[in-house]
């Protein structure tokens, strides 16, 4: 039984990490109708930022985290300004291709700058230590990750649903031109969307590094794809959907391996099977975009 709960805790941790990264996909899709394939590589860069700040420059982790969040935010905004903003009015496929280009650029840039040698991700505070609850031994991370994720999601939903900036984001996501006519600054709104998405990816990256403490330039590829799948499962464009999709996918991966240890070699394939099933059965995902238009 202890093993079961250990796996649940594990699934919850992985799921929360997926959720944090999936939100970035879903927010960018919501506003630009773009699958930002560079998002996984933004995640990778955040891991390197944290590695350099803590392991190379010996900045205390609580300051380093803030620096990493800011740097990743700036990186996200820079990518949007240079690779997406100039072709915003082009067909969506151009944006998509541009994002694939950015993805390759970041991966190769990281290989050149940081070399392909895997690095050890620094441990932060006591997150990697274990604790025992009712006979079940789990990492502290398993408690912190879901809590941090839920707090950030609550903040994000408040921002989007209750503030003026959030209202502008929702308006821009439906109609650029009319939002402009209201005096909304489209560029700034899109920039903040990338900033928020990238920041959440950075939080995910730091915690990911606690769970799987190894970094190399292609570390973002698989989590990136899986989080994209999580966003699709939840219904891309919907933030709650990304959270539910992330948690579901994380749980699914861990629990299938727990139930059928023989399948552990196929662990990475579950997400893709899930994607195919969702696309076949319910292409709009669990919470697919509400269509309230009345003609």
């Amino acid at each position: 039984m202890a093993l079961f709960w250990q796996n649940v805790a594990n699934g919850l941790t992985v799921g929360s990490l997926y959720a944090l990264v999936a939100i970035g996909y879903t927010m960018v899709y919501g506003i630009l109708r773009l699958i930002n394939f560079a998002h996984g590589d933004i995640f990778m860069m955040a891991m390197y930022f944290a590695f350099f700040a803590i392991s190379i420059f010996y900045i205390p982790w609580y300051i380093a985290i803030i620096l990493v969040l800011v740097a990743t935010m700036l990186l996200g905004m820079l990518i949007e300004k240079t690779a997406y903003a100039p072709i915003r009015n082009a067909p969506r496929i151009s944006l998509l291709i541009s994002s694939i280009g950015v993805s390759y650029l970041l991966e190769n840039l990281a290989t050149v700058l940081f070399t392909g040698v895997p690095r050890q991700f620094p441990s932060i505070g006591s997150l990697q230590n274990s604790l025992v609850i009712g006979g079940v031994t789990i990492q502290q991370l398993a408690i912190y990750t879901p809590v941090v994720m839920l707090i950030l999601v609550a903040l994000l939903l408040t921002l989007i649903n209750k503030t003026k900036t959030g209202m502008a984001m929702r308006a821009v996501s439906k109609d650029f031109e009319t939002a402009k006519l209201m005096g909304v600054n489209i560029n700034r709104t899109i920039s903040s969307t990338f900033a928020i998405g990238s920041m959440l990816a950075a939080v995910g990256a730091i915690m990911w590094g606690q769970k799987y403490p190894q970094i190399q330039p292609y570390i973002g590829v698989m989590p990136g794809l899986k989080c994209f799948i999580a966003a699709v499962i939840g219904g891309i464009g919907n933030i709650k959907g990304a959270v539910v999709g992330g948690l579901l996918l994380g749980m699914l991966e861990i629990m299938i391996v727990y139930a059928q240890p023989g399948l552990s070699g196929y662990k990475d394939a579950f997400a893709f099977v899930a994607l195919i099933l969702v696309l076949l059965i319910r292409p709009t995902g669990l919470f697919g975009e509400k269509v309230t238009d009345k003609v």
């Binding site: 003026k164 929702r170 308006a171 109609d175 402009k180 006519l181 209201m182 005096g183 909304v184 009345k294």
Partner: protein, 239 residues
């Protein structure tokens, strides 16, 4: 005094000349209407005034200052708002939020609250439905919301692009009487309409646009009685 002056405005879409140098003016306190067939350049005119369209020539002067190449956000700041064709309310925002976003550039919360009440006074239906998603409203209600949303910016000049399009005749009458009321409260109105009859009835002055040129201009009343206009736009033949 003229609030808005358009001088020799030219707009090209690719190789197509949408506006071939039109000039007109709108005086403070007036209702001015541009009428004309589909493709005459009416929407293009309004869209160029609020900076949504690249101009290839000419000048737009507002309150004595050139605004020809001002960004949309700046023209809104100056008190020029557009009620776009097809209403374009934000379907995923509530009615109340749609009104609030109309006041996006304003900082005076008390004034905004007051204006929301004021808009509800014009359109009681919007107050009843303030919590609904705008996408669930009927066409007429959406048009009311689009007009209300524009009023929330406290405009000096409100431009309306086909406000009666696709609405039931009774609703159309409401919309036109609201336009007159808005105008009587001191807002200048620039109106474009396919329903030339209704538009000319409430307009002080009118311009007839034909394939990118101003073909005629006169008072609303005179245009309404002009034989050429009657034949071409009002669907009435000479007796």
């Amino acid at each position: 005094m003229s609030l808005l002056e358009v001088k020799n405005l030219q707009v090209h879409y690719g190789g197509i000349e949408a506006l071939k140098g039109i000039s007109f003016e709108v005086n403070e306190g007036e209702i001015v209407t541009l009428i004309g067939a589909n493709g005459a350049g009416k929407s293009t005119t309004l869209r160029s005034i609020c900076g949504l369209v690249q101009k290839s020539g000419g000048e737009i002067v507002y309150q004595g200052k050139p605004i020809t190449n001002l960004a949309t956000q700046k023209t809104v700041e100056q008190g020029i708002v557009l009620v776009p064709e097809g209403r374009r309310v934000f379907p995923n925002l509530t009615v109340l939020e749609n009104l609030k976003i109309g006041a996006y550039l304003r900082k005076d919360d008390a004034g905004i609250q007051e204006d929301i009440k004021h808009v509800y006074g014009f359109f009681p239906r919007l107050e009843e439905r303030h919590w609904q998603m705008a996408g669930t409203l009927s066409g007429g209600e959406q048009q009311m919301l689009a007009v209300g949303r524009a009023l929330m910016a406290r405009p000096k000049l409100i431009m309306m692009d086909e406000p009666s399009l696709g609405l039931a005749p009774l609703v159309v009458r409401d919309i036109f009487s609201i336009i007159t009321r808005i105008n009587s409260e001191g807002v200048t109105v620039l109106l474009i309409e396919q329903n030339a009859n209704a538009a000319l009835r409430i307009a002080h002055r009118g311009y007839v646009l034909e394939t990118g040129n101003i073909a005629m201009s006169n008072t609303g009343h005179a245009l309404l009685n002009d034989d050429r206009v009657r034949q071409a736009y009002l669907g009435k033949s000479e007796k």
